[in-house]
Symmetry: C2
Amino acid sequence: MVTLAEVAQHAGVSASTVSYVLSGKRSISATTRQRVEQSIRELGYHPNAGARALASSRSNIIALMIPLRTDMYVPVMMEIAVAVATTARTHGYDILLLTGEEGPDAVRRVTGSGLADAMILMDVELDDERLPLLRRSGQPSVLIGLPADTSGLTCVDLDWGATGALCLEHLAGLGHRDIAVIGEAPAVYERHTGFAERTLGGLRTRARELGLRVLHRPCEGGYDAMAVTLARIFDERPGTTGFVVQNESAVEPLLALLRQQGRAVPEDVSVLAICPDQVAVQASVRLTSVAVPAQEMGRHAVEQLVAKLDGRGTDDVVLIAPELTVRASTGPAPTP
Amino acid sequence: MVTLAEVAQHAGVSASTVSYVLSGKRSISATTRQRVEQSIRELGYHPNAGARALASSRSNIIALMIPLRTDMYVPVMMEIAVAVATTARTHGYDILLLTGEEGPDAVRRVTGSGLADAMILMDVELDDERLPLLRRSGQPSVLIGLPADTSGLTCVDLDWGATGALCLEHLAGLGHRDIAVIGEAPAVYERHTGFAERTLGGLRTRARELGLRVLHRPCEGGYDAMAVTLARIFDERPGTTGFVVQNESAVEPLLALLRQQGRAVPEDVSVLAICPDQVAVQASVRLTSVAVPAQEMGRHAVEQLVAKLDGRGTDDVVLIAPELTVRASTGPAPTP
DNA sequence: ATACTGCGTCGAAGCGCTTCGACGCACCGT
DNA sequence: ACGGTGCGTCGAAGCGCTTCGACGCAGTAT
């Protein structure tokens, strides 16, 4: 294991000089710098992370708390995580992976031990139990998702309310009057996860304004659950011609069931999904969709955090405007 | 920020005593221990990770390298990652998330800096460029996946060869003679990812032994790609009655297409998937499947690693035996 | 010439913890 | 009574780095 001192000796300078070459915090003559850099390369030196963290009280690590539940849209989580990790690297940070399992304790542990310089929280509930701790600790952090009370917090999220509204506008514009909303699994609503409730709020408000009828049904993913849900929907509202689907794992089952019942998409019913573009184009019908900008959210969260850590702080809520892409799954409502 | 010294003072003992209470490396009288623990609680003390790492040259962090590609089965990756993270926590380790992006450099960086005590590599290619480095560095590590040369390495994986064989035995037992294999995306084979090639090897070998005809076709996920692939298969082998699907994102499209063509599952054709159980039970037909034991692999990898770090080392290849669960998507071959 | 300014470099003091050797003390056997 | 043996505790020496003040030496202004 090569140390700073060895590099210094090899280059014929003091340890502090090597340190300053590395950090650039004081000016170093070009010749010295080159000599030091040469030594670093020759010896294959890598600064020791622990020592660095101790001396500078900066670990260059960002903690990312992802939910360990599997009842929510996994690919989105994964995409966010990967975007976070790669963006963090471009700023010199590594990612520490925390699962939701530990809950608030993880926040305590990480803030207390100086393991990470900052945190990103995913799967935020409206009244999340981690938030009081977070506010109190003064740990720089960004939430992906929006709690009920955002005071003193930085958040990044898709504007789910606007997303809901946008979905309804599109369907209303096509003449649909009776809309069914296939939501996330019931557990997601029971936890009061922000995005699910906000989407619903947006849908309902705009429905009222536009004079549409909306029937919302939570739904576990999968074929069987979807079959039951769909039967109930047509039972209660036989005139339903528009679907908004928020639960990705219900999309393909829904399409299969509609097909099986002889209802053509988009001639008889329109289906509008809220999902990443990749899913929308891979489905058995190319889906009109509002994209969940997973990558953008992850990238944004890291950049906010890095800004904070650099003192260019911004305690702010950033809502990403939804974008709807028309594909082949929505069309004019059938004339009765 | 509370330090060890403050705890020591508060409890009226020396710093080393507190340290020994924490680590249990020397015996401490019950009364002193209690006093110290009390002080720790009252002051809300958390050991500083950097200082600890520096003094002990142990970071209690395990690095996990996940692929950042999205052409492979994402839920499996996610499940492994979560299993790794939670298992690691039960042993007192945290997980550092590295994306494949950095490649071999990440190995260098982590080993060099002492950031992590050990590494877990996923998405291992048969001739993976990270392996020479890993062997040379002497960094404790476990691979999830099997390279061509496993000497000096510890690996955990599903026995993909046996998995392929098992699939064919099941279909052969039901009387199927012409089998089509829907594989992963072409890029996966081009990279020589171990699991894909080994599965194929197992399939082909057993096919020869059992006198079956096997047609293997790589396939990008999604409906359109599957449609093309399926058309070609029936074109080339009209008598195909059995399908083995390894690419999860091709499963649902395949089922939809078969349905659409009027081929009933399992009456006309049988479909056997290699996928996690959850996917198998959520599909539009409950799928007979060989499970990908993602959780088990993740758990196992961590446990191997912890054993190594504790000096109970075992340089070994652990192959998990495949298990086939019969559900509703396979049945006797139709009599012509 | 003198005083001043800045640049480039060095030395030393920590950062908070682990760990090793040493020490004091009670308790044992003889 | 005595040396021996553990057990429980302490002090001190680092671990490898960052960072602050200081210092020497130009170059510039007076």
